[in-house]
Symmetry: C2
Subunit: 206 residues, 2 copies
């Protein structure tokens, strides 16, 4: 089953989850591929094909069971597991992430690291000097390290978190990270998203 899930489908999984969760919260018990397609930017046939690829099966003439679909999506993305997160870089983005409530119960920011931590208060989240990173990771289970440093510091920080044994990196720094093959990196770049918007604007104007 795993082998048939393409990166394009994987990128759609969170959007399916958002739509299905919305329907679930509204009290809907079943949904058609057509209705899901209309809530997203895909065709009904694409929805059926995508769901098939990760084992979400609808019934002809009934559609999909919303609760079951939600639970299948949670399982495949591991959203029902606890992920302990640390953030490296307590700038605007790092602090915004530390305070963000929208990731769900499975994702908890436990500590934020920076070179200067004076005056930074983040409620129940520990704020620690970067020099204590390795010690912290040895004493606490860290599932995801979020890198929200400036670009210039990102490579060193990535090497340090890998050295500290962290296997998963969520990278907000605008640079590609060079990590060993067993470390998973997911990049999120605000500039990239903005430039894609700018591209479409420019094309429309031109």
């Amino acid at each position: 089953m795993e082998k048939t899930v393409s990166p394009a489908i994987i990128k759609r999984l969170p959007r399916y989850y958002r739509v299905v969760t919305h329907l679930f919260n509204e009290g809907q018990t079943k949904v058609s591929s057509k209705a899901i397609a209309e809530l997203m930017d895909v065709t009904a046939s694409q929805v059926r094909q995508d769901f098939c690829s990760f084992g979400g099966y609808g019934q002809q003439g009934y559609g999909y069971d919303v609760k079951k679909l939600k639970s299948e999506l949670e399982n495949i993305m591991g959203l029902n597991k606890m992920h302990n997160m640390i953030i490296i870089g307590a700038g605007n983005i790092g602090r915004a992430l530390a305070g963000y409530k929208g990731f769900g119960d499975g994702f908890k920011v436990r500590a934020v690291f920076d070179v200067v931590t004076d005056g930074i208060e983040l409620g129940e989240i520990e704020v620690l000097n970067i020099s204590r990173l390795k010690e912290y990771c040895a004493e606490n289970k860290v599932d995801i390290a979020v890198i929200s440093t400036p670009r210039s510091a990102a490579a060193k920080v990535a090497a340090d978190v890998v050295d500290a044994g962290v296997k998963n990196i969520w990278n907000f720094a605008p640079t590609e990270l060079d990590v060993p093959g067993d470390v998973i990196v997911e990049n999120i770049s605000m500039s990239e998203s903005l430039y894609v918007l700018s591209y479409y604007m420019n094309r429309q104007e031109g």
Copy 2:
């Protein structure tokens, strides 16, 4: 030319730009498709094909002129134009965006709007009550409206900015926006990126 640029290539443009700008800043004058490919996650043949599609031509045995490539990428994405931005939603994310310096000279946040603006100081950026949105947009050229409100407010805010004449929306709210066909929306979802990471983690553990 425009017609041949697929969404997949468009998503790679900002990454090419990042790599090429990096090389330019390091003083490199020429670069091979192989070197660019190594700095990204694509093949050299993909790089050549992508560049061809937007008119970036290299020379056999020489490679690409870094300065020219940078300038071509800026042109195609309109990065050399001025984009006046407003942010709606002065929460953590909105404030982080207002303070972010990494978008380049072509993108300026001019004003931030929210229902409550008391106590929010953002330097030279105006902080205004949301009730003044339409008036502001009538008096100032607004190229991009950034929506960084909670999900529950996003649909109303999108309708308001469209009503105020803004044609481009950069959406950070975790919901699909329903806008007229001539309005461009680029969505950026932190949760989606995190859940993609979680998917890969889960698959590796499973």
